[in-house]
C-alpha cells in the first residue's frame, strides 16, 4: 500500500500556507497575542471561507474532509497562529443540521461544543454538568476551548444536544488565560438560559468529535514540531562555538535527525488517522488514539530538543521558539493527555482474557 497526499491536497496546503505567510507573519501573530485579541485573524479565516473546508457541500461547505482540516491545523500551528475559534468551530459544525451549518459558514459564525478541554468530550467526573428543565439550561462547564470566541454554543445534556447563542440571557462566559496564548478557553455558566433542542444523539456526536479532536490536535502538534525542528537546524548552522558551527557537532546532528524521524512518523500517523476517521474505519478510534498519544508526545520532545539546541536564546521572550514550545506542550494536554488515549488503546486490546 502506498499512501500520500494527492496533488489537490498538496496544493491546498501550499495555498493556505502562502496565505498565512502573508496574513499571519510572526510580528502580526505577536501583536494578536500581546493584545489578547485574535479577532482580526479570525475574521480573515471566516471571510475568506476557510470555515467551509472539511464540510460537505450539502451543509454549506466546499468539501474535503478531516485530512484537509488536519493540513489546516498543521499550517496554523507552524506559525503559532491563534486557532481555538477555528478548532472549536470545525469540531462543532458536524453536530449542526445542514441549514444551520450553512448559515454559520456563510455568516462566519464561530461555534463550540460546551465540554472541558481537559477531556476527550467524555464525562469522567460529571464535567458536563448542565441540566435542562423546560428548555432552560442550568449548570457550568469549565475550560471550554474557544468558549470565549464562539457565538454559538452546543450544549450536551445527557443524551440530548441544545443550541444557544453565547449572548443569550442567562449565559455567562468567563475567559481563561492559557500559558499558550495562541489558544484560549472559557468557563461557561448557564442560569436558566433558554436553548433550542437539536436533533441527534449527543453521546455519539461527542464520541465522533473526540476522534476528530484527537486528529486535529495531533496535526497541530506536528505543525509545531516541524517548525521547531526547522528553527533548530537553521540556528545550528548560524551559531558558531569553538570555531565551528554548532551544527557540525554530532550531538546536535543526532538531535536534529531524531526530531525529523519523530516528525515523519508523526506525519504518517496523522494523515492516516484523519483518513481513517473520515472513512469511519472499524479501527478509526485506535488510529485517532495512537495519533493523539504518539504525535503530541513526540511534539513535546521536539520542543525540549529544539530548546536544548538553541541554548539560552531559545529561552528568551524575543525568540519565536517560546510560542511553538507552549503550543506543543498544550497539545499534549488538550482533550486528554497521552495516557488517557493510551488507556483507550489498552482497553481495546483485551489484555485481560474475557471470562
Amino acid at each position: 500500500m502506498r499512501w500520500a497526499l494527492d496533488s489537490e491536497q498538496e496544493m491546498f496546503a501550499d495555498a493556505f500556507g502562502d496565505l498565512l505567510d502573508r496574513a499571519a507573519s510572526a510580528d502580526k501573530v505577536r501583536r494578536w497575542l500581546d493584545d489578547g485579541d485574535p479577532s482580526p485573524f479570525e475574521r480573515l479565516l471566516a471571510d475568506d471561507g476557510w470555515l467551509a473546508v472539511g464540510v460537505g457541500e450539502d451543509a454549506g461547505g466546499q468539501g474535503g474532509g478531516l485530512l484537509e482540516l488536519a493540513l489546516t491545523a498543521e499550517q496554523l500551528a507552524r506559525r503559532a497562529a491563534p486557532s481555538s475559534a477555528w478548532t472549536s468551530t470545525v469540531l462543532a459544525l458536524p453536530a449542526l443540521d445542514p441549514e444551520r451549518s450553512e448559515a454559520a459558514i456563510s455568516n462566519g459564525t464561530f461555534a463550540a461544543i460546551v465540554a472541558s478541554a481537559n477531556d476527550p468530550f467524555d464525562d469522567p467526573a460529571g464535567a458536563l454538568a448542565v441540566s435542562e428543565v423546560g428548555g432552560a439550561l442550568t449548570g457550568s462547564v469549565r475550560l471550554v476551548l474557544g468558549g470565549d470566541r464562539a457565538q454559538l454554543l452546543l450544549v450536551p445534556v445527557g443524551s440530548r444536544l441544545f443550541l444557544i447563542e453565547s449572548s443569550a440571557p442567562g449565559v455567562s462566559i468567563r475567559p481563561r488565560a492559557l500559558l499558550d496564548r495562541s489558544r484560549s478557553a472559557a468557563d461557561i455558566e448557564f442560569d436558566g438560559a433558554r436553548a433550542t433542542r437539536l436533533e441527534g444523539d449527543a453521546p455519539a456526536i461527542l464520541a465522533d468529535a473526540a476522534l476528530r479532536a484527537a486528529v486535529l490536535v495531533a496535526a497541530d502538534s506536528l505543525g509545531a514540531a516541524t517548525r521547531l525542528r526547522e528553527l533548530a537546524v537553521e540556528y545550528s548552522k548560524q551559531r558558531t562555538q569553538f570555531g565551528a558551527p554548532i551544527g557540525s557537532f554530532q550531538a546536535m546532528k543526532h538531535a536534529a535527525a531524531t526530531m525529523l524521524v519523530d516528525e515523519e512518523a508523526s506525519r504518517s500517523l496523522v494523515y492516516y488517522a484523519a483518513e481513517s476517521v473520515d472513512r469511519n474505519l472499524a479501527e478509526a478510534p485506535l488510529h485517532a488514539a495512537a495519533a493523539k498519544a504518539q504525535v503530541t508526545a513526540a511534539g513535546s520532545r521536539a520542543a525540549e530538543s529544539s530548546l536544548t539546541m538553541h541554548g539560552a536564546i531559545g529561552y528568551t521572550w524575543e525568540h519565536d521558539l517560546q510560542l511553538l514550545y507552549k503550543r506543543a506542550k498544550l497539545d499534549v494536554a488538550l482533550f486528554g493527555d497521552p495516557s488517557r488515549w493510551n488507556e483507550r488503546i489498552a482497553t481495546a486490546l483485551e489484555l485481560v482474557p474475557a471470562d
Binding site: 557537532f249 554530532q250 543526532h254
Partner: protein, 388 residues
C-alpha cells in the same frame, strides 16, 4: 559524611580484584560457551577465604557485613567474570544468612565451615512455576512422618542446583488456604539435594551459562527433622530477612558488570579507527559512554548507602530496592552501549561485550523484576494503594 572505603574494605577490593583478574575474559567465554562450572575460580576464591566473608568467625569466616560482601562481589563481576563468576559464589557469601541467624548450633557446626572452605556447594530453593514472585503461593509440601518430613513438589530457576550438595528449601507445611495468615505455614530446610528424590533439569537459557539454572522435581524427598531451620511455619519470616541483602548484592553485581562493559567500550573507542580517527572522537559514541559512567557512579552511591544502613542496623528496604533498580538499569545500559560501540564486532563472542549484554539483561529480571521494585516503592515508600 564519610565516603572513603575503610582500610579493610580497600584491601578486600584490591585483593579480590587480584584473585579475580587471574581469570581472564577468555576463561569466562569458554566456560560460558561450554556451560561448565568455573571450578578453578571457585576454588581460588575459597582458598583465599573469600567465601566466608560474612560468616561469623567461630565458623571459620570473617564476620564482615553486607558492605564488604558487596564490595567483594562487585570486584568479582567487574573483573570481567560478570554473572558467571558472581553466581558461582553468590550463595556461599550471603545466602546462608537464614542458617546463621535461625539455624541450630549443630547445623551451623556441621555445615558452615564446609561452606567457607568451599567444600560444600549450596543453592537456594524458593521459587516455583505456579507462584512466581507471589512466594506465599508455593505448593511444595512437607508432611511430618516420625522424625522425617516427606516432601513433594516442583521448584524452578534454582541456580547452581546441578553443582550443589545442599539446598536451602522453602516448603509449605500447611496449605495456603488452611493458614491464618498467608505468610504462615511455610517451613525452611537446609538439607541434602538427594538425587534419588530430586530430579534436577537444567534450563536452556540466554546467558550466564557457566552456572546452571534448573527445574527441580521433588518426589518423596525425606528430610530429617534436624535439617529444619528454626520453627515449623516460620520459614517465610526467615527468608524475608535476607531479601534486602540479596537485592544489594545483585545491585553490586549489576554495577560491576556495567563497569566491565564500560571499560571495554572505552578501550575500543580509543583503539578502533574509522574515517582516519578513533571512533571515541565521535560525540555519538563519547556521550553515551560518559553518561553511562555518570549513571553507574550515581547508582553506586545508592548501593553504598543501602549497605551502610543495613550494616548499621537501620531500615534499608527503600534504599536496597532503589539500589537494585538503579544499578540494574545503569549496568544494562552500559552493556548495551558497549555492544553498540563495538558495532558488528560486539555481536561476536570474541569481544566479550555480547556476554556482558546477555548477563546484565538478567539483572533487570532477577531476583525480582524492575517493575516489582517500582511496586514496592509505590506502595511502601510513597504510600500509594497496592497496584497488583
Amino acid at each position: 559524611m564519610e565516603f572513603e572505603l575503610s582500610e579493610d574494605q580497600a584491601l578486600i577490593r584490591d585483593a579480590v580484584t587480584d584473585v579475580a583478574t587471574r581469570f581472564d575474559d577468555d576463561y569466562w567465554m569458554h566456560h560460558d560457551l561450554e556451560k561448565t562450572f568455573p571450578t578453578e575460580f571457585y576454588n581460588a576464591m575459597a582458598d583465599g577465604g573469600w567465601l566466608g566473608i560474612t560468616t561469623p568467625e567461630e565458623y571459620g569466616g570473617h564476620g564482615f557485613g553486607i558492605t564488604e560482601a558487596s564490595i567483594l562481589i562487585q570486584a568479582v563481576a567487574e573483573s570481567g567474570g560478570g554473572m558467571n563468576a558472581a553466581s558461582a559464589i553468590h550463595l556461599s557469601i550471603f545466602g546462608m544468612h537464614p542458617v546463621i541467624v535461625h539455624g541450630s548450633d549443630a547445623m551451623k557446626q556441621r555445615d558452615l565451615p564446609r561452606i567457607v572452605n568451599g567444600d560444600l556447594h549450596v543453592c537456594f530453593g524458593v521459587t516455583e512455576p505456579e507462584a512466581g514472585l507471589d512466594t506465599t503461593r508455593i505448593t511444595t509440601f512437607a508432611t511430618l512422618d516420625g522424625d522425617h518430613y516427606v516432601v513433594n513438589g516442583k521448584k524452578v530457576w534454582i541456580s547452581k542446583a546441578m553443582e550443589s550438595e545442599k539446598i536451602l528449601l522453602l516448603t509449605r507445611t500447611a496449605k495456603f488456604e488452611d493458614s491464618p495468615k498467608k505468610t504462615d505455614g511455610l517451613t525452611l530446610f537446609f538439607t541434602n539435594l538427594d538425587r534419588e528424590h530430586i530430579d534436577v533439569r537444567p534450563i536452556k537459557k540466554m546467558g550466564r551459562n557457566a552456572v546452571s539454572s534448573n527445574e527441580l522435581f521433588i518426589d518423596d524427598l525425606r528430610i530429617p527433622v534436624e535439617d529444619r531451620i528454626g520453627d515449623e511455619g516460620k520459614g517465610f519470616k526467615y527468608i524475608l530477612d535476607g531479601l534486602n541483602p540479596e537485592r544489594m548484592l545483585v545491585a553490586a553485581e549489576a554495577l560491576g558488570l556495567g563497569r566491565a562493559a564500560l571499560r571495554r567500550a572505552v578501550q575500543y573507542g580509543k583503539d578502533r579507527h574509522v574515517f582516519g580517527r578513533p571512533i571515541g572522537m565521535n560525540q555519538g559514541i563519547q556521550f553515551p559512554l560518559a553518561e553511562s559512567l555518570a549513571r553507574l557512579d550515581a547508582a553506586e552511591l545508592m548501593l553504598r548507602k543501602a549497605t551502610w544502613l543495613y550494616d548499621n542496623g537501620k531500615p534499608c528496604a527503600r534504599e536496597a530496592n532503589m539500589a537494585k533498580y538503579l544499578c540494574a538499569d545503569a549496568g544494562f545500559e552500559a552493556a548495551d552501549r558497549a555492544l553498540q560501540v563495538h558495532g558488528g564486532m560486539g555481536y561476536s563472542e570474541e569481544y566479550h561485550v555480547a556476554r556482558y549484554f546477555r548477563e546484565s539483561r538478567l539483572l533487570r529480571i532477577a531476583p525480582l523484576s524492575q517493575e516489582m521494585v517500582l511496586n514496592y516503592i509505590g506502595e511502601h515508600v510513597l504510600g500509594l494503594p497496592r497496584s497488583y
